[in-house]
Amino acid sequence: MSNTDIVLEICGSAGEGTISSGEIFNRYISSIDFEIMSFDTYPSEIRGFGKCVAHSRFSTQKIFTPGKYTDILIALNDAHSISQLGHLKDTGVVIYDSKPPKYHEEDKSIVGWMEPGMISYGIPFNDLAQKAAGNSRGRNMVALGAVCALFGVDHEEFKNTIIQRYAKKKQIVIDNNVNSFVEGYNWANDNLTKIDSISFKKGKNKNEKESIIINGNQAVAKAAIDSELHLYAGYPITPATKIMEILSHELPKKNGIMLQTEDEISAIGNVLGAGFAGKRSMTATSGPGFALMTEFMGLSVMAQIPAVIVNSQRGGPSTGLPTKTEQSDFNAAVNGGTGDLPRFVIAPASVEECYDGTTLAFYLAEKYQTLVVILLDFFLSNSIRNIDEPTPPTEKMLNSNIAPNEKELKDYVRFKETKTGVSPRSIPGTPNGMYTTTGLENNERGKPQYDGKLHTKMSDMRYRKLNSALNDVPKPKWTGPKKDIDVGILSWGSSAGAAYEAATIANKNGHRVAVLSSLVVFPVNEVDLTKFCNESKQILIPELNYSGQYANFIASYINRPVERLNMVSGLPMASEDVLSKIDEMIAS
């Protein structure tokens, strides 16, 4: 069986069912065992008639990026869709409304903008929807019907997916959608002559595990629930709001609490309060809210109280580009805050890692009594994948606080020096475990004290925790050749996907390209990093920010020049971008 790897886009106005038809398509395509990666774009204005795009890539191979070039474009609205032609493949397919509702005629038709070589199928979406349901709402379903007819998809199974999607709606809604779908399917079968060569019937045979369709925000929320989150405290902000909204549904079912606070300062304050009291707690935000949490981040570290913050990055600085993706809060996550401020920073590279990174975060925060920042980005938050049902946290991960034993409680010394830097922490309610913690420098009993020797010792303790934890976290992932590497890519966060794909292609092309990426970006596993760099003739650091934040950061560990690939286009990094940089480096 040959490989299938297709990008399909549905583009329309808000209100035309663009996103929901993409969702149905993903569900179906996932059910026939394709690997999918999907990404929706909403208008940045609140309302109006802004452009929506449901972008899906599906493949029989493992994929890591949503794909830069489109195979099939479904234009629910010509005006909006024209600009999508810019990344349609040279022989790509456009499916459009041949008889759009009146208001479309003012726009030039998309057909006029297509390049020679592209293939178009005109279908009267509107007429068929009217026929099926008496209104134009079902245009999106007509289009899906045509897709089934054109590309050999089992339309009965697809129909079932539609029925499932609307199962909770009134029967009339289900009927209208299904009828529109059938109209589209039949019309296309009867009237269109296929002139492209695309088809997709069935994906690879997947393994046995249950698979779920989920985006990064959902994965974080699910992981939090599975990690026995008790209190979510947060304040709405794009692209993190959804985490809060999901948890506002889920937490009450588990006797947990979703607290909407007056601002982000209060949110992180509540998180620390709950952490102090011994319950798992988190908040999620984006750049502006993260900035407001800066002072409390320091307190978490100094007072040694667990706290988990998700920062889903968007374009910056300041309010920036709220609906665009970027990786420009690395500095803020790793070095934000005043004073010498160790903390953990976790940067998932995929939806799967959003789950694993979150369960890890709760484990680390509690065990090491400190701050853990999880760096997502707009793309990861909204990137939809079908993944295997993730592995829930183990018992050990769920109960990671190191409590004082009875002997220690006899004369309890809360911040007693230890080899690991972690001192047993008693939880309120524990008799004889009383102590006071503070953001002031303090001695082993928690008393504020400022002498130089003590400050040196306590600083040491705070940093020592990080080193102790290095054995407790997944090692960096090294993919590709283990030695004689032409280009070694140090990658982080969501752009790692593009690095993997580019490296795979480059290796097929006969080059030796490897990728090192780590779920935990701080602290740094210097042993592996050094080994990787020693084997690499050149180092490349691709990232979605302007100033090369990770590249600057890593310099003090490797002390050698690196090549940088920095992009601030607001889009996820594409494998093509990384590949051409690799080629350039190898050629020079």
Partner: protein, 278 residues
């Protein structure tokens, strides 16, 4: 839908030209939803500036983030679209720097009752001479329908699918207890009254707090709708003594939504006047 949009805009533009609406406006068309109360408020602010003969270049506007916060983007004045909740301190700095300018702070209910609520007591007690327009739609508009500090108790929102567990704050009561020297409430559906109130607020020497009731037609279909607001607002009776703080407090606590001037104190010098007189 698109032709609806076009008609709608044409209509607005006509209206706009008639009322010299464009004098203080840029070419930017507001990104607000059709039917949003913010159009009317904007019109009233423009009309007030016009009637007060303010020059464009002498108006400084600081706004927060939110649908309301977008206001200065559509205006041909000196505008600063600042941070969520921070219109007030920025407006304060503008006025302290350049007393001769007319300074507005524009805020949503999330902006200034929630995240920026800590600034309000202090601008009031300092009596810095700016006018705060609170666009209160009792919801977070821009982030798509979460509860705000003025969302009614038990209302279902995107952040409280099982109902808002928090009691709403009462902006007018708060401003009064902070010692604001001009406190009024207006309704986005009554342009004439709004304009009258705005003009008084703008010319008041000291801090003016104007609470404006306005619907979010997109994210609140239940409580503060055009219909419900219209049914519940009531103009403060003519004989009302605007200098009586206790009375102002009393009617501010009522569930009836009084509009008009609650409190207006003429005898307190503004912050800068006080400093000068020393």
């Amino acid at each position: 839908m698109d032709n609806f949009k076009i008609n709608y805009i044409d209509e607005m533009l006509d209206d706009v030209e008639k009322k010299d609406f464009l004098k203080y406006r840029t070419g930017e068309l507001p990104t607000w939803c059709p039917g949003c109360g913010y159009f009317g408020i904007t019109q009233s602010i423009v009309q007030s500036c016009n009637e007060l003969n303010l020059k464009n270049e002498d108006i400084c506007v600081a706004s927060g983030i939110g649908c309301a916060g977008r206001f200065p983007v559509f205006m041909d004045v000196y505008g600063f679209h600042t941070l969520h909740g921070r219109s007030v301190p920025v407006a304060s700095g503008m006025k302290l720097a350049r007393e001769e300018l007319t300074v507005f702070a524009i805020a949503g209910d999330g902006d200034i009752m929630g995240i920026g609520g800590g600034h309000l007591p202090h601008i009031a007690r300092k009596n810095i001479d700016i006018t705060l327009f609170l666009f209160d739609n009792s919801i977070y508009g821009l982030t798509k329908g979460q509860s705000s500090s003025t969302t009614p108790f038990e209302q279902t929102t995107n952040s409280h699918p099982f109902g808002n567990p928090d009691q709403p704050l009462k902006p007018v009561s708060l401003a009064l207890s902070y010692g604001a020297t001009f406190v009024a409430r207006a309704f986005a559906g009554n342009v004439d009254q709004m304009t009258a109130i705005f003009k008084k607020g703008i010319t008041h020497k000291g801090f003016s707090f104007i609470h404006i009731l306005t619907p979010c037609v997109t994210f609140d279909k239940v409580n503060y709708t055009w219909k419900n607001l219209k049914a519940n607002v009531e103009e403060i009776y003519d004989e009302f003594d605007h200098t009586n703080h206790t009375e102002a407090m009393r009617i501010a606590e009522k569930s009836r939504l009084y509009t008009g001037i609650f409190y207006h104190r003429y005898d307190v010098p503004s912050y800068q006047d006080y400093l000068k007189q020393k």
